[in-house]
Each structure stands twice: as structure tokens, then as C-alpha cells.
């Protein structure tokens, strides 16, 4: 199956042995999108690596930037102080990005299961979101917005909006989008796809990952939470300023495709909660968004392993500095790469249609797998 196949989310090749329609053996073959990110980083200065991190997981680019930027800031220690406002804006855009990424995950999963219309709805709402991102950062998909020590620019004027902005302002103000999302998008998804019996037939009891295996296979994000382990690095390893926000972690029960789907769907709502809190803070506290940084960034010698909760799971970044402007080594731990290992474990015994469902439910992005 693949590399050119409509539902492999990129260029993934799944070698599958079939007995009739039942899968007996499956192995992913990756590397078709390898772009030498880690080698490339060794030749770039620290700021220059940021746009490349966008390109690993292109559906959640801001979260990758967050991982790398915060790792580098940790290397600097106290030498770089990021302004409060920048931290809040980072959380704000990261959570918006998480909603966008989850929307895409749900949409493509629905498409894999044959429902085309939800996918188009996902695009419709994501477009609104991308207009917001475009206004904030200047890019639609690859933003290059975070900087070491702050952000490129403050939020543009009028983007926050007021808490009673409705759907008509969904692509103009963040409040407008969040209200539209809470009142329209989320219930629509819930009724149209999650409540649909065919969808439930297709996903419940398919691709069950037990909690033990979820830990053993190093899964994270929605996959480990779908298996019933309440593990979220935003809570368990509070990076940035996530300890100041109030949100819950949804957990699944059975660890099947439906639970992973449901966790994602719930998480979007929690993200919108965080966004609301951040918006409330931001509309009251203006200020700088860029801290004082030297013109040439030379972190002191040292190494740091920074883990954040990306949209798909644990995005972590292992940066080693030798005191020069270029990182000595950057290791990118991408969740999709790790999650894809589970596919050979989950698929045997299922029908070929379930392979697609499982692949969709662990939500891989091949840009991130191959880096």
C-alpha cells in the first residue's frame, strides 16, 4: 500500500500481507520525505533553524517552533528573559494551532472512513483559523513566528476582538473564532461524525492499544490518553506557563480508534478554554513581546532535552551547544515517528479498511516522521 495512496497522509508505504481482506502482517516503510533536518541544523545558526522546524510537522508548525525556541532559551538560562506577554501569546497561538491540527486530524480520519463532507467542514473552519494566523504571523501554514527571546511581532490590532463576537467575525477575531468554534463547529462534529453509528461501528473496538503497550511503545498525546493514561506534558511537566491555566485532560477508556478520536475532539474544547484564559489576560496586559537578546546568539556550552506536548504527542528537542552560533546537534523527537511503530502492532487481525482507520486515528504527519 503506497507510497502513492490517497490515505497515507503523505508518502508512506505500508507493506501489508493479506489473507483475503484480513491483514496478517504490516510494516511501514518510511523515509520518502527525509529532508535531513538534523544535519541541516548543524550548519545553521539558532534562529535559522526555526523555519526548518516549521517544516517537520507542517500542520502544527507553531508547536514545533515552541519546542525548539524554548529549548534554546533553556540553554541560555537566565541570559534571556522572555517577556510575559510573549509567553502568553505563545500559549495562545500554540493552542489555536492545536485546534487547527486536531481539526485536520479529525477531518482526515473521517475522510479515511469515507465521510467526505466532514473533511470539507474541517477545511472550512481551518481556513478561518489560517486567516487568523495569517493576520497574526504573516504565514498561513509555515509561520516562523517565534523568536529566541520572544516573538517576531505583537498581535495585530483588533485581532483579539470582544467576547461576544459571533460567527460573522470568525475569521477576523480570535474571540469570534472561539465562539464560533464552541457554538457551532464542535457540536456539528459531535452530531455529524462522532454520533454517527456507522462511524462508531468502524472505530469502536478497532486497533485497541492497551495502557501497558501504550507506555512500552513510547506513545504520547492523544494515543496514550486514548488508552486511558492521563499523561499530558502540559500538566505533568509544565513548560512555558501552562501551570497558570486551567484545563482538563480528557482520557479514553478502551484505547481504540474511537477513544483516540474522542480524546482529540475533547482536547479541542480544552484548548479553546485555554485560549479564552489567555485572551482575557492579553487584552488587559499590553507590553513588549521581544526580550533583550544579543545580536549573535551563542548559547553557553551545554545540552538540553526539552519536551513539550505537541498536537500529536510529545515533541521534544535535544539541543547540544558547543558555544558557537550553530547548534552542535539537534535531535528532533517527533511523535508521529514514534507512533508509527505501533501500526505493525495494532493492525494484524484487522480488515484492510481498519488499517486505514488506525492510521488515521494515530494521526501521523509524514513530514514529521521523516523530518
Amino acid at each position: 500500500m503506497g507510497p502513492q495512496h490517497p490515505s497515507t497522509h503523505g508518502v508512506l508505504r505500508l507493506m501489508v500481507k493479506l489473507d483475503g481482506e484480513t491483514v496478517t502482517w504490516c510494516e511501514p516503510d518510511i523515509g520518502y520525505l527525509h529532508r535531513c533536518f538534523e544535519k541541516l541544523s548543524e550548519f545553521k545558526t539558532y534562529p535559522q533553524v526555526i523555519p526548518f522546524t516549521d517544516r517537520t510537522d507542517y500542520l502544527a508548525a507553531l508547536l514545533n517552533e515552541q519546542a525548539f525556541v524554548e529549548a534554546t532559551e533553556k540553554l541560555f538560562g537566565d541570559a534571556i528573559v522572555v517577556p510575559e506577554r510573549a509567553l502568553y501569546i505563545r500559549v495562545l497561538v500554540a493552542e489555536l494551532q492545536r485546534i487547527a491540527s486536531h481539526l485536520m486530524a479529525l477531518g482526515s480520519n473521517a475522510l479515511d472512513l469515507g465521510a467526505v463532507t466532514p473533511f470539507l467542514y474541517c477545511w472550512r473552519d481551518r481556513e478561518k483559523m489560517y486567516s487568523l494566523f495569517e493576520r497574526i504571523t504573516g504565514g498561513r501554514l509555515l509561520y516562523n513566528y517565534f523568536r529566541i527571546g520572544g516573538l517576531r511581532n505583537d498581535l495585530p490590532e483588533g485581532i483579539i476582538g470582544t467576547p461576544n463576537d459571533g460567527e460573522d467575525k470568525a475569521d477576523k477575531t480570535i474571540w469570534g473564532f472561539i465562539n464560533y468554534f464552541d457554538s457551532y463547529v464542535w457540536p456539528q462534529w459531535d452530531a455529524l461524525v462522532t454520533g454517527n453509528r456507522i462511524f462508531q461501528w468502524r472505530t469502536q473496538g478497532v486497533g485497541v492499544l492497551t495502557p501497558e503497550n501504550a507506555v512500552a511503545y513510547s506513545t504520547s498525546g492523544a494515543v496514550i490518553r486514548g488508552s486511558g493514561i492521563k499523561w499530558d506534558l502540559r500538566k505533568n511537566l509544565p513548560y512555558s506557563i501552562y501551570d497558570r491555566f486551567e484545563f482538563d485532560i480528557p482520557v479514553g477508556k478502551n484505547g481504540d480508534c474511537f477513544d483516540r478520536w474522542w480524546v482529540r475532539q475533547e482536547e479541542m474544547r480544552q484548548s479553546s478554554r485555554i485560549v479564552k484564559q489567555a485572551l482575557a489576560w492579553l487584552s488587559e496586559n499590553p507590553g513588549e513581546v521581544m526580550g533583550k537578546v544579543p545580536r549573535v546568539l551563542k548559547p553557553p556550552k551545554g545540552e538540553v532535552y526539552h519536551r513539550i506536548e505537541g498536537a500529536r504527542g510529545e515533541v521534544s528537542c535535544y539541543v547540544i551547544s558547543d558555544g558557537s552560533p550553530n547548534p552542535y546537534k539537534v535531535k528532533w523527537r517527533s511523535p508521529a515517528f514514534t507512533h508509527l511503530q505501533v501500526v505493525p502492532h495494532l493492525t494484524p487481525g484487522h480488515k484492510i479498511a481498519d488499517v486505514i482507520a488506525i492510521l488515521g486515528s494515530i494521526d501521523i504527519v509524514l513530514g514529521e516522521v521523516d523530518r
Binding site: 490517497p6 472512513l113 467526505v116 454517527n196 456507522i198 480488515k351
Partner: protein, 394 residues
């Protein structure tokens, strides 16, 4: 004209008629393809907040023509190692089987290509062709996706054929004939809203689901499931051969919708121009209370028009198309809403749910009908009134 026609020997007459009807049916199939394809694209677009095709023609409504022309001039790619004969012939067999359905569909009073006694059986028979075509294309393509799609398609169509016929039997029992024209007439006799849809609601739902499965349409489009088996049995096709498959799909859709309209919605039956006009005249006359000239004139004209074969045809045809496309719309609506089922769930649904339900429907229909017929002549009491009501109902 008539003399000229009579001067032709009867054998040749038959041939000429056959050719004429066949050409008309094929043309009608093409018309259906254009309309249904465009409807599909537009309806899906509207459901997804899009506008759909927009450039070709006014708001893109002649897009199918442009597509067909494009597909005509495309290269016919024939992959290596295909079974050439099967590969080439398969789309045309599918096309044939789709068009054959239209042979027995009554378009308007008396307007039917072949008024067969065994209409329903004929339908059941020719759907078998489609299975053969799909399997030929899947096997001939020499492609794993095609083969899987073909196997799925064959399994699905064969198992749903049973259910399909079972769901129709209720209607046949009520009409007492396998001939489609008779079924329409039986519904017309039952008066306004005497369609078999109401008494046979179970049969109708089963028929709807089974025909969707028979048509390989979502949520049962397993044979071409694009996210699993790239494009199923027609993965390897391109150019005009692929276009023939597309043609087949939409003609088939319209054909099954036409059958559904005939069986359950009374086919061409519906108020004709004459009936409307006479009814209008009756209203203007105040149902006889204040007869006036205008009302009488309109009513008389209506009575005159009632005898007009041409107008009855036109109106019958209109009602027929309306009902057919109601079903086409329904199929599209369902397609763009629901996700796809899995093959084992499909089989479960077919054999474990729809078949028992349709058998139960047959049983229910026969029992009620027996009771209703048996008690037809009894004096009017509350009990017998209920039974009489049932008798109308069935």
C-alpha cells in the same frame, strides 16, 4: 405516415422499432448521466459550502460535457500485463447492464420500451451483468486494489440482490403483477397518495438501503473505496474507458431511482394537465354552487385535455422524472453525509438485518392482505371498518 408504416413488412417493423427505442434509451441514459453527474457535484458542493463547478457554461452547468470531451481525447492507458480482452470489454458490459434497466421502465402511460410481464425478474436478472463487468475489470486490470475492489463488489452485489428482490415482493403481492406498468396502474387506482410507499414503508427502506449497496454508492461504496483501494475496480482505467464507468454509475443510479419511483411512488401517476384544469374549473365553479362561464370553460377544456394522449404523456413523464430525481437526490444526500461501512459490517447488515426484515415484511403483507380480502364483504361495524381501512391500506 401510417400507410407507409404499414407497408413495411412486420419483421422489419420490429427491427426498426427496436432500433428507435434503443437509440432513445441510450440517449436518455446520456441525458441522465449529465443531469445526475451535475446534480451530484452541485449538491455535494452546496452541502460542503462550496459552489462546485463554475466555469463551464452558466455556473458550470455544462461541466459534464466538457469532462466527457476531455476524456474522449485522453490517452487510453493500458498497463502492462493486463488481460487485454477483459480489460477493454468490461466497461462496456457495465454500460450495457445499466442501460438495460431502462428498457422496462414505464416513462408515461403506455410509453415503455418493452412492456414485459416479468419486469421485476428481468431487473433481478440484469443486475447480474454488472457483477460480471466489475469482476472482469478487477481481474483484467491485474492490480491488487482492483482485484480487492472487484471481489468486494461481487460479494456485495450478489448478497444484496437477494435482499433487493425480497423487498420488492411486498409490492408485487399488493399489485398482483410483475409488470411495472401494472404496478403503476395499481397505485393509480388507489387514488391520491395511494402509493405503495405508505403501506410498504419497511420494504421501501430496505429497498433504499439495498439499492444503494447494489449501486456501490456511499455508504456502501466498498468496491471503489477511494481511501482504501485507490479507486477500486477502475483504478487502472483512464480516458474514455473510465468515462464509460462513470457513465455506468450515474445511469445505474438514475435507473434504480426510476424503478424505486415506479414501485413506491406511483411512477408516472399524478395529476395530468386535464385533471388539473378540470379540478380548477370545479373550484372556480364553486363545486357547482355558483356555476359561471369561466369555470365551465376551464373545466370543459380540462375534460378535453384528459383525452389528449400527448399531454398525458408529457405530464406523466414530468411526474416520473420528478419522482426519479427525488430518489437521485436522496441517494446523493446520503452519500455526502455518511461514512463508509466495512465489508464484514456490510455483509452483516445485508444478511442479518435487511434480509430478515424484508422477509418479515413479506409475511406481514401477506397476513394483512389475507385478512383484508377475507373480510371484504362483511357488514360495517367498528371491527370491520378497521379491517376495511386495512384493506385500503393494503
Amino acid at each position: 405516415m401510417a400507410e407507409l408504416w404499414n407497408s413495411i413488412p412486420p419483421t422489419i417493423q420490429v427491427w426498426l422499432l427496436g432500433f428507435g427505442k434503443g437509440t432513445l434509451i441510450l440517449l436518455w441514459g446520456l441525458v441522465n448521466f449529465f443531469v445526475a453527474l451535475m446534480l451530484e457535484r452541485k449538491i455535494s458542493a452546496w452541502m460542503q459550502n462550496r459552489v462546485g463547478p463554475w466555469r463551464a457554461g452558466l455556473h458550470g452547468w455544462i461541466q459534464p460535457l466538457a469532462d466527457l470531451l476531455k476524456l474522449f481525447v485522453k490517452e487510453y492507458i493500458e498497463p502492462r500485463n493486463v488481460d487485454k480482452w477483459l480489460f477493454v470489454v468490461a466497461p462496456f458490459i457495465a454500460y450495457l447492464s445499466a442501460n438495460l434497466i431502462w428498457l422496462i421502465v414505464p416513462f408515461a402511460p403506455g410509453a415503455v420500451a418493452t412492456n414485459m410481464d416479468i419486469g421485476i425478474i428481468f431487473i433481478a436478472a440484469i443486475t447480474g451483468y454488472d457483477v460480471i463487468a466489475i469482476f472482469m475489470s478487477g481481474w483484467g486490470s491485474n492490480n491488487k486494489y482492483s482485484l480487492l475492489g472487484a471481489m468486494r463488489g461481487a460479494a456485495q452485489m450478489i448478497s444484496y440482490e437477494v435482499t433487493l428482490v425480497m423487498s420488492i415482493i411486498g409490492v408485487v403481492m399488493m399489485a398482483g403483477s410483475l409488470r411495472l406498468s401494472d404496478i403503476v396502474l395499481a397505485q393509480q387506482e388507489r387514488g391520491l397518495f395511494g402509493w405503495f410507499l405508505f403501506p410498504q414503508i419497511i420494504g421501501f427502506v430496505v429497498y433504499l438501503i439495498a439499492s444503494l449497496a447494489e449501486l456501490n454508492r456511499a455508504p456502501f461504496d466498498l468496491a471503489e473505496a477511494e481511501s482504501e483501494l485507490v479507486s477500486g475496480y477502475h483504478t487502472e482505467y483512464s480516458g474514455f474507458r473510465w468515462a464509460v464507468f462513470a457513465l455506468t454509475e450515474y445511469i445505474h443510479l438514475a435507473g434504480w431511482s426510476a424503478i424505486a419511483a415506479t414501485l413506491f411512488l406511483g411512477g408516472w401517476s399524478g395529476p395530468t394537465l386535464g385533471q388539473i384544469a378540470s379540478g380548477l374549473g370545479n373550484i372556480i365553479n364553486g363545486f357547482g354552487y355558483f356555476t359561471n362561464g369561466v369555470g365551465t370553460a376551464v373545466g370543459d377544456w380540462g375534460l378535453m385535455m384528459m383525452g389528449s394522449t400527448v399531454w398525458n404523456w408529457i405530464f406523466g413523464f414530468m411526474w416520473f422524472c420528478l419522482k426519479t430525481y427525488l430518489f437521485v437526490f436522496l441517494a446523493m444526500w446520503i452519500r455526502w453525509t455518511l461514512p463508509r461501512v466495512r465489508i464484514d459490517q456490510l455483509m452483516d447488515l445485508g444478511w442479518k438485518f435487511l434480509l430478515p426484515v424484508s422477509l418479515g415484511n413479506i409475511f406481514l403483507t401477506s397476513v394483512l392482505r389475507y385478512i383484508a380480502l377475507a373480510n371484504d364483504g362483511l357488514p360495517l361495524t367498528i371491527g370491520t371498518y378497521t379491517i376495511r381501512l386495512l384493506g385500503w391500506w393494503l
